[in-house]
């Protein structure tokens, strides 16, 4: 495999090109020309992922492209498209548009792609840093708002901490096994008999790597940043973080914990521990979300709960568990992207930066279609049939059950019921309350055409995946 077969390489090139264009394009032109070029290229990048291409190992086995990595990349790029589009709309009417997000998005998706494809701990580390450092900027882009700066600072500090964990963990793994390539670590585990797995240095290393990635996936106990950062960041960055960054985090986790990964022994030796991590994430996300009134913040909590479900599915170990987790990630991604697009759109149209329960109240009275889009995406997140979220939750629970984590499954179900309270709370505000003030004074809430297409596409996917889940059970096979 040659370097020009690597998508991430081209994404980085395009990112740099757009960065240059940003410098040379006059400030007066605003964000639209630059943003539209980037958007077009990113859509092309998404389409490119579905075209037949090289699959296999590359660069002495430190990089791999296969159906699963392509699947993760497709979700990350889709999140990037949504985020770029939202950023364009957020800045379109401003006198001092912030254009940096356009080029940064490219570096982020390149980093995410590498996170999925990395088969080497060093490459993984570099990829995660590429994503995280770009996000430090994206999160605090609304630099005149205290809350955005606060979010940026929190993300910086917790991100720095997670990096420290990760790099220390990698050092310990390297120190004890003598290898950085995933495949080499796996074979050295196999060759050492049980020795390596009894080595406390190696085990602490694996746990630290896990901790570092748990930050990205916002799993307990490394979840604290999520609600604060989601609330403070611009909606475009929140959408990117909550869908893209989480997917990439789980991509790395799947490659490590999944069948054949260097940490796959953990689903066996520490499966119970992992399942309790998952269950406490579910409970925390569900209970913590109950008190929230801001939608982005609520999505932060719901994200913690959903990360717990994905980990719970993964705990099963093996091929079936992997399929359950992939289906969950896909469904969660499309449902949440749908909701984020809606919130971002409303926030731009009404000029309200913080969008909460009292702002979204009565949306169904103002525009029934948008009200229903909101209700359906929320129903999917809540896992209510016939939306796709139900099948995702069912597969995840079955996977945990099949692996023998019965008690954890029951607790996860209780968590799911608790989270239904706040998901329905959104529907309740949208449908049952009188229209809020933000919609008064002739605010147009109808969507522009392209946006409408995007939302319809996502909604259709959610519904189709709900009605014919069988088409999506072996998701990764669409990639050639």
């Amino acid at each position: 495999m040659n370097w020009w077969n690597v998508q991430e390489f081209w994404w980085l090139v395009i990112g740099s090109f757009i960065l240059l264009l940003d410098v040379f394009l006059s400030e007066k032109k605003g964000i639209i020309p630059l943003g539209m070029i980037s958007l077009g290229l990113m859509i092309a990048a998404l389409v490119g992922l579905f075209l037949p291409g090289y699959q296999g190992l590359a660069f002495e086995g430190s990089y791999e492209s296969n159906q699963i990595t392509l699947f993760f990349k497709a979700i990350c790029v889709a999140a990037g498209i949504a985020s770029t589009w939202m950023a364009i709309r957020e800045n379109a009417s401003k006198s001092d548009p912030v254009r940096e997000s356009v080029s940064l998005s490219w570096f982020v998706i390149a980093g995410m792609g590498l996170m999925a494809s990395a088969r080497d701990f060093l490459l993984l580390f570099v990829a995660i840093e590429l994503v995280t450092i770009s996000f430090y900027v994206l999160v605090s882009l609304r630099r005149k708002e205290a809350i955005s700066l606060e979010a940026g600072l929190k993300y910086l500090i917790t991100g720095g901490l997670s990096t420290a964990f990760l790099v220390f963990g990698i050092a310990l793994i390297y120190g004890s096994s003598g290898h950085l390539l995933y495949a080499d670590v796996v074979s050295s585990i196999a060759h050492s008999g049980k020795k390596l797995l009894e080595n406390p240095v190696f085990i602490s290393g694996t746990f630290m790597v896990l901790a570092g990635i748990s930050f990205k996936a916002s799993l307990i106990p490394f979840h604290w940043w999520a609600p604060d950062v989601y609330q403070g960041a611009p909606h475009s960055a929140t959408a990117f973080l909550s869908v893209g960054s989480k997917t990439a985090g789980f991509a790395a986790l799947v490659m490590l914990l999944g069948p054949g990964g260097p940490l796959s022994f953990m689903t066996v030796s520490f499966g119970t521990f992992l399942s309790w991590i998952a269950v406490s994430s579910i409970l925390f996300g569900s209970l913590g979300g109950l008190a929230q009134r801001d939608l982005s913040r609520l999505i932060g909590y719901s994200g913690v709960a959903n990360a717990g479900f994905i980990l719970l599915a993964l705990c099963g170990g093996g091929e079936d568990a992997l399929n359950a987790a992939l289906f969950y990630i896909f469904v969660y991604g499309i449902s949440l992207l749908l909701l984020m697009l809606l919130i971002g759109h409303l926030s731009v149209q009404t000029g309200k930066i913080q969008f909460g329960f009292s702002e979204i109240a009565g949306l169904a009275n103002v525009n029934p279609t948008l009200g229903w889009v909101c209700a359906l995406s929320v129903a999917s997140l809540a896992g209510i049939p016939p939306m796709a979220g139900f099948w995702a939750k069912w597969f995840a629970l079955s996977s945990a059950w099949a692996a023998g984590y019965q008690l954890q499954t029951v607790i996860a179900v209780i968590g799911a019921v608790i989270s239904v309270v706040y998901y329905l709370g959104i529907v309740r505000n949208v449908f049952f309350e009188a229209a809020s003030d933000v919609f008064s004074g002739g605010v147009r809430v109808g969507m522009p055409l392209g946006y409408r297409f995007c939302v319809s596409l996502l909604l259709a996917l959610t519904l189709v995946a709900g009605f014919t889940p069988n088409l999506f059970v072996k998701l990764t096979t669409v990639f050639q």
């Binding site: 399929n323 049939p385 629970l397 019965q406 329905l424």
Partner: protein, 528 residues
């Protein structure tokens, strides 16, 4: 032919939904859709002779196929147990549309949601797969939530709707855990939730002695919440009181029976009580106490209600206690009686909720003291209300009677105490209903209240109401006189299940004697 009729039952409402969404006149379309579904439902009833023979070559396809969860089938069929419920569902749906109106701008949304609710119920009852049943039941969840919160009565309707929906999600997810546990008993290569296949595998391969009793308990408690098993009932009375008439009719009359229906299917066919180890000593006494509480405590609660809608809500919950009795008694007669009772009480409850809504113009929240004597202003109601009320308390000659009497007879031998409680319950419900009837229709005679309701004088009921009450009354009388058209197919299906069950268990026991059952060997093989 069968196929065509069956697909009309399910397809007509769905077509109605699409046409309304495309802008067709909502109420008219809803009437046409539910009307054709009703006609098709009646035709299905006749063609399959009450469900005693199923659909010829029933079509089904694989919905989900995954080793983890097995195979889920998408397909529909009827038997003696599901046919009455399908019939009930289409009957109540049509009358519910006849009884409801909605103001213009939101009319389309209202009727789409109403159609989806009733379609979910019908599809759930006719499904051939346990997971599909579950999914179709849940389809009604969001529509009812929005119907109650947006179109209901009373100031607290939003929180009432939320509470109701959260309770229903709680119940169904706990039930889902039980289903997951049940499916995971089977080895992955044969795992399926198709009902008849499930039955076969659990009996022949897994062996009933290997079904842990807590799977049974989880299923019972989970699906128990769906029909308001004591003490998980508090969502129901307020929910029905706040719901628009049509929704209360469909939910209280039809959808609430789903919990009982799925339990009847599972306990009657897949995991019979008699063969489960540990159930008899542990959970069964607890469940019979809970059923007794449903009958006695909720019956007495109904007695104390000062609002007609709450009173009807509590009464409908009280009737659920009888159904639990029938399931727990676990005899062919009692299970048949449960089917008949679900049909009869479903009709009567739906009718009472529908008629009570007519009285809202005298008292917005149907307070009994404000309704005193107002009934005489609604001459048209006196007879039909009285008929539904008599049916509800089990008067011979009306639909629920046959179910009630065979329930008491079928259960007495096995559960004498609970049966005695049930008899006392009949007395309580008689007191509750007759007192309400006397207060509304006999006291005061209109003279006392004439000044109160100048604006609401007697008006000729519109044609829709007349037609609807005619259909309900006719159904109550018809199946009161000819209960055998329902009882016989139901009894055949139930007895057949019991026969298959005994044969399966016998085969399994033989295998066990020969040194370990087939499934045990399979499971052990897998675990190696």
């Amino acid at each position: 032919m069968d196929q065509f009729i069956l697909w009309t039952v399910l397809g007509a409402p769905l077509l109605g939904v699409f046409l309304i969404l495309l802008g067709a006149p909502a109420r008219l379309l809803a009437l046409l859709a539910t009307g054709s579904a009703l006609l098709a439902g009646l035709a299905l009833f006749v063609v399959t002779s009450g469900g005693s023979r199923g659909i010829v070559d029933a079509w089904k396809t694989t919905w989900v196929q995954m080793p983890l969860v097995g195979r889920v089938d998408f397909g529909f069929d009827v038997d003696g147990v599901s046919m009455p419920l399908v019939l009930l569902s289409v009957l109540v749906a049509f009358v519910a549309v006849l009884f409801t109106r909605c103001e213009k701008p939101r009319e389309a949304e209202f009727f789409v949601l109403l159609l989806l609710t009733s379609l979910g119920a019908t599809a759930a009852f006719a499904s051939v797969d346990v997971i599909s049943m579950f999914v179709f039941h849940e389809v009604a969840l969001i529509p009812t939530f929005i119907l109650i919160g947006r179109y209901g009565h009373g100031f607290s309707r939003a929180s009432v709707a939320l509470r109701m929906t959260v309770y229903l999600v709680l119940g169904s997810l706990i039930g889902l855990v039980g289903l997951i546990g049940l499916l995971q008993l089977m080895p992955p290569d044969v795992r399926t939730s198709n009902f008849s296949a499930l039955q076969e595998y659990i009996q022949a391969d897994v062996g009933l002695q290997n079904v842990p009793f807590w799977i049974f308990s989880t299923l019972f408690l989970g699906f128990g919440v769906l029909f308001g098993l004591f003490p998980f009932y508090s969502w129901a009375p307020n929910g029905y009181a706040s719901a628009p008439a049509g929704v209360a009719m469909i939910h209280a009359g039809v959808l609430k029976n789903f919990g009982v229906f799925i339990l009847l299917k599972l306990i009657g066919g897949v995991i019979p009580l008699a063969y489960l180890e540990g159930v008899q000593e542990t959970i069964l006494p607890l469940l019979s106490v809970l059923a007794g509480c449903n009958i006695l405590i909720l019956g007495l609660a109904a007695l104390r209600q000062e609002r007609l809608d709450l009173m009807l809500g509590y009464l409908s919950l009280m009737h659920m206690g009888y159904l639990v009795l029938g399931i727990l008694a676990d005899t062919g007669t009692s299970q048949t009686a449960v089917v008949m009772l679900m049909f009869g009480h479903g009709l009567a409850t739906a009718a009472l909720f529908g008629y009570a809504d007519r009285l809202r113009k005298f008292s917005a929240n149907l307070r009994l003291d404000e309704l005193e004597g107002t009934g005489v202003k609604e001459h048209s109601l006196i007879f039909v209300f009285g008929l539904a009320l008599m049916a509800s308390l089990g008067l011979p000659g009306l639909a629920p009677f046959a179910g009630e009497i065979s329930l008491l007879m079928g259960s007495f031998a096995k559960m004498p105490i609970l049966t005695a409680v049930a008899v006392v319950g009949i007395l309580i419900s008689a007191i509750v209903l007759l007192r309400a009837f006397r207060k509304i229709f006999q006291l005061g005679g209109g003279l006392v209240r004439s000044e109160l309701s100048v604006s609401a004088t007697y008006s000729q009921p519109e044609i829709g109401f007349r037609l609807g009450s005619l259909i309900l009354s006719a159904a109550l009388v018809l199946w009161g006189i000819l209960p055998n058209t329902l009882l016989k197919p139901a009894s055949e299906t139930v007895e057949n299940q019991i026969r298959v069950l005994n044969a399966g268990v016998g085969r399994n026991l033989d295998l066990a004697k020969q040194g370990g059952s087939l499934a045990k060997a399979l499971v052990e093989d897998k675990s190696k």
